[in-house]
Amino acid sequence: MMRETILEAVNLRKHFRSGGGLGRTANTVRAVDGVSLEVHRGETFAIVGESGCGKSTLARLLMRLLDPTEGDVLFDGRSIAGLRGRTLRDLRRDMQFVFQDPFSSLNPRMTVGKLVGEPLETHSPELSARERRAKVAELLGRVGLRPEHAGRYPHEFSGGQRQRIGIARALASGPRLIIGDEPVSALDVSVQAQVINRLHDLKEEFDLTLVIIAHDLAVIRHMSDRVAVMYLGQIVETGPSEQVFANPRHPYTRALLSAVPEPVYGRAHDRMALKGETPSPSAPPDGCRFHTRCPFATEECRKRVPEMREMAPGQGAACHHAEKIAAEHGSPVAVTGSGRSEGAERRFAMYAEAIADRGA
């Protein structure tokens, strides 16, 4: 199913200079180094990678919270680079952000009502105070909070509740696209599930496009339609989630998937061990950036930068040896059953039913 593109990045680069000044050589951190991607209207697009891969910077470039060193971002086909004043405000209305840390992303000195009402104030100034209050109450309801919460302050809420406030705030302006930077990674497992479900429901309800940045592959798989895997400022693999997770083409994606422990007893691991850790983005290796850790690396990888090539419909990987590796090695993710006893399966079913009944 091919849908129209709502957000497009064209060869985005963001280089940070640090430690420069008076006779000291500046250190350039290539946080994002040549990223192109397309997000389709109505889908959930995920960007996954380990710490320091540049995914958060990428998210901020897409939002124009940061200006790119090079490249362009198109929203609805229009470049967002030069927007200012009214047009920038319009972009902000259409594109919203949910932050990773629900503790630090809400102004501690504003009530929830004010926080959620603020985008309305900015983007729908025609609303009266009462109308705005009503809208805020409605939004709070949508994210699973109660209208009377509007008078409280963020610190009175738990992490999960705060993340819902953040989501309500993002929804308030009536955006068409929401970018979530690790929206659930700071939450406890049980709460994380609540928020994931909520996001999914809201997406349907408001006909949103979601861009989710995360490091947790299981969460990504669960939430996203398409995924892009980042390593050292570049996208190494992209494609429909099911496809990428079942049949990864880039050795880094393989390694990531194989490293994730599944909560199933006795799962045999065909683990693809990676040596060492991610190199510094201020001095990325030549050639393929992954070659220093890649068990399949050859002389060619050290010298030549691999291009993104289409491996399967909609799936691309930037690896010289992708086909060969796929042919020689099976899927890193063993597909097996749940490993639960019969009684357990019944208990899980009962539980799911009970929870569904509760209407959580």
């Binding site: 000044g21 008076l22 000291r24």
Partner: protein, 314 residues
């Protein structure tokens, strides 16, 4: 490290120039004509005119400034209007005095403040902590000129234990030099000790909560070692930095302390110079203390550098 200091020195130059402009302007803005006082009780107009000319006070301000700063760059800070002594010579005379006072005050402050800070951090929430805090706050709240007056009244006038004032160079008579300076150093050191104590306490509290202190405990080390080696070593960085930065406060505090105890140091010199409109002296001292302050800042940075392995190697 050397490159770092060199870089910092380069950065300091515009700051120092800026200070020199401030000082110069401020000084020029002062009302009152020093020449009038210099001309003597008779105030002969010819003498006044001659002196104005002699000290270049008839030149336009920028000219005066550039003459002065030009001299400063060559090490000539001008001469005192009041005593005709070269300002640099005056400064050199006063510097050891103020340094002795400052060092004694600092020693006092460190010896009292740091252990008290450690103790009260370790015993947080106990009577010891509470008492230390009360004493420290009192130390901060006592106006030190009043403390000085009261001490003179009690220790010197009533009990006759210590000399009330004056200064003896240590080279001349070390014991007397130290005894004379005891009270002023105490007065000047009280507030510093209090500041140090409070900062040591909060630095220690911060460090004691840190993960590596927990690690040290998990190793099974004795608590004393955990506190003195692992915690204090890391709290030391902000403490040393602060101590260097306290220099500014020391000099400011010395102004009054020296005034009260008649110690012929920087502070006394500057106050008298301001009151006598002894321009060159005021400019010289403020510039000198500002440079001193910047140097202390630099030392603080250097100490930070030296104590912080993270920076040392990079």
């Amino acid at each position: 490290m050397l490159a770092f200091i060199g870089r910092r020195l380069l950065v300091a130059i515009p700051t120092i120039l800026l200070i020199s402009v401030f000082v110069f302007l401020l000084q020029q803005l002062l009302p009152g004509d020093p020449i009038l006082a210099m001309a003597g009780e008779e105030r002969d107009p010819a003498t006044i005119e001659f002196l104005r000319e002699k000290y270049g006070l008839n030149d336009p301000l920028p000219v005066q400034y550039f003459k002065w700063i030009g001299g400063v760059i060559q090490g000539d800070l001008g001469i005192s209007l009041r005593t005709n002594q070269p300002v640099s010579e005056l400064l050199l005379q006063k510097l050891p005095v103020t340094i002795q006072l400052a060092v004694m005050a600092l020693i006092f402050a460190v010896v009292i403040g740091v252990p008290a800070g450690i103790l009260s951090a370790v015993k947080k929430g106990t009577v010891v902590d509470y008492a230390a805090n009360v004493v420290a706050l009192s130390g901060l709240s006592i106006p030190n000129f009043w403390l000085g007056i009261m001490l003179i009244l009690l220790v010197s006038v009533k009990w006759g234990l210590l000399p009330a004032s004056g200064y003896t160079p240590p080279g001349e008579d070390l014991v007397r030099s130290i005894t004379t300076m005891l009270m002023p150093a105490f007065v000047l050191g009280t507030a510093l000790a209090a500041t140090l104590m409070r900062h040591t306490r909060s630095a220690m509290l911060g460090v004691l909560k840190s993960d590596y202190v927990r690690t040290a405990r998990a190793k099974g080390l004795y608590e004393r070692r955990v506190i003195l080696r692992h915690a204090f070593r890391n709290a030391l960085v902000p403490i040393v930095t602060l101590t260097a930065l306290l220099f500014g406060e020391l000099v400011a505090g010395a102004v009054l302390t020296e005034q009260i105890f008649t110690i012929p140091g920087f502070g006394k010199l500057v106050v008298d110079a301001v009151f006598n409109r002894d321009y060159a002296v005021v400019q010289g001292i403020v510039l000198c203390t500002a440079v001193g302050f910047i140097v202390m800042n630099l030392l603080a940075d250097a100490a930070y550098f030296a104590l912080n392995p993270r920076l040392r190697k990079s």
